[in-house]
Amino acid sequence: MAIKGVSLSVAEGELVSLIGANGSGKSTLLQAVCGLLPGWEGELAFKNDSLKGLHPPAIVQKGISLVPEGRLIFPPLSVLDNLKLGAYTRYRKKQHIEIAQDLEMVMTLFPVLKERTRQAAGTLSGGEQQMLAIGRALMAKPSLLLLDEPSMGLAPLLVDKILKTLVQLRENGITILLVEQNAQAALKIADRGYVLETGRVVLQGNSEDLLADDEVKRAYLGKDYGDFYDGRG
């Protein structure tokens, strides 16, 4: 198993960042929450209900949406179809009017998508694809949004834009768990943070404290020992 003995919580309305290097088990954790990884041991609860043994469709219906690592949009399908697929479980319940409203909401959040509704999703740029992936996740009307490295492979300007969107979503009342390698950017917008290392939580706390923590700075914020030992002889 990639993770062992990890315990973490996200309160309603919070934006929590989970940071860690490659192979620290961040994505594994998210996959377990979404039901994409059967056979784990432990306890997972959402709004006091256990998520153990549930399949992905049931978890999506409970209000948990994942923006997967590497976006995993459907390239040959149109942007509109991608978004509609996000609302897949809701079409079953015939919520057509609400879905249309949410579609409008996503389009105002990401105006680029509105210009390209008929285009195949594979023709979008990396940043636009990430926006589409987030938009698709939002179409399920989640109360908890999970994001797996949304900044991966994007230019700093776009990362900024995407993270700002997350802050905006949190203000709209969506709880967010953000998994990131880009520790600085992720901690800046988060309320709290966890640092994962080789499958264990090594540090946790308010994001300001974590940003100031020497250990985090050394390992994830790209400052090397030289800066710390400066003047200490």
Binding site: P56, I59, L66, P68, L72, F74, L77, K84, T89
Partner: protein, 316 residues
């Protein structure tokens, strides 16, 4: 939507016109076979082209449709229209039983799994002589009729089959544009991503497999009552491959591709009779050329050529 309606309208008129114009019974029968093959290819296209699940055993469902109606109508004297639901039900039942374990496989492995199933059914048709007539075949399947209208004349049968094709086209097109169609294409693309948006991929794959099997059984029903004689060789592994070829040549994930693929593969052997000994060589060559020139199938190829000609015309 309106554009679709116009296309269906044209399709309807073309069917009617051909039915009126063609006098030769042999040609009418050939066209009817194209219709039956189109239904077969359409069923597999829904499974393979849209949902991305390959099946190398579809001849088995085709055969189940044909043999069920043959056995019920000849041995038990049941009205063909009553044997149709039985044939469809049996195909659906078998599809569920076979689909539940095999659809867990993906890619080549799914191909192998369905291939094995197809071979087992083929052997059943051949060896269960008391019921199926064995290798020498099954004779005396009665023609279809509704009240005073007999479908024995080739023209009536032609209309029956082709209007069924038209209805199936409308139905499949609606299915593809629906929530389910989007889910199928999502599964084709990435099963994991499809799961992540909340699609129950296992059920969805099973549903389309069953639907596809039912369409094949329907073609089998039409085939049996048209030729009145069936033998196991009409439902062998080679037939399964032929159905796959129709889908690939015609165009994956295209309803009209099924029609094109079925037409080409049914007509080619007829046109190539003049090559006598070299018939199969030329047949293979043509298929190779089609795949090299239009790797995405005839439908996409023709559309590409049309679009290219339009853009070059617009240039000053």
């Amino acid at each position: 939507m309106t554009q679709d309606r116009i296309i269906y309208g044209i399709f309807f008129l073309v069917i009617t016109a051909i039915g009126f114009a063609v006098e030769n019974h042999y040609y009418l029968q050939l066209l009817t076979i194209i219709g039956i093959n189109t239904l077969l290819a359409l069923g597999l296209n829904m499974l393979m082209g849209y949902a991305g699940q390959i099946s190398l055993g579809h001849a088995a469902f085709y055969g189940i449709g044909a043999y069920t109606t043959a056995i019920l109508t000849v041995h038990y004297n049941i009205n063909p229209w009553m044997s149709l639901p039985c044939a469809l039900f049996l195909a659906v039942l078998v599809a569920v039983i076979v689909g539940l374990p095999t659809l867990k496989l993906t890619g080549y492995y799914l191909g192998m799994g369905t291939l094995g199933f197809g071979m087992i059914v083929h052997i059943l048709f051949r060896e269960w002589s008391s019921l199926t007539g064995g290798a020498s075949g099954f004779v005396g399947i009665p023609p279809l009729e509704i009240g005073p209208i007999s479908f024995f004349p080739a023209r009536n049968y032609f209309y029956l089959v082709w209007f069924t094709v038209l209805i199936s086209f409308v139905f499949c097109k609606r299915l593809i544009k629906s929530r389910m169609g989007r889910a199928l294409r999502a599964i084709h693309d990435s099963e994991n991503a499809a799961k992540a948006v909340g699609i129950n991929t296992r059920n969805m794959k099973l549903e389309i497999f069953v639907f596809s099997a039912a369409l094949s059984a329907l073609s089998g029903f039409f085939y049996a009552h048209m030729v009145s004689f069936i033998s196991p060789e009409s439902f062998s592994f080679l037939v399964s491959v032929k159905i796959v070829t129709m889908v690939v040549i015609g165009g994956m994930a295209s309803i009209w591709g099924s029609l094109l693929g079925a037409s080409l593969l049914t007509m080619l052997p007829e046109w190539l009779h003049s090559f006598s000994d070299f018939e199969m060589v030329v047949y293979g060559l043509i298929l190779m050329l089609v795949m090299i020139i239009t790797p995405q199938g005839l439908t996409r190829g023709i559309l590409d050529i049309y679009e290219r000609s339009r853009t070059t015309k617009n240039k000053p």
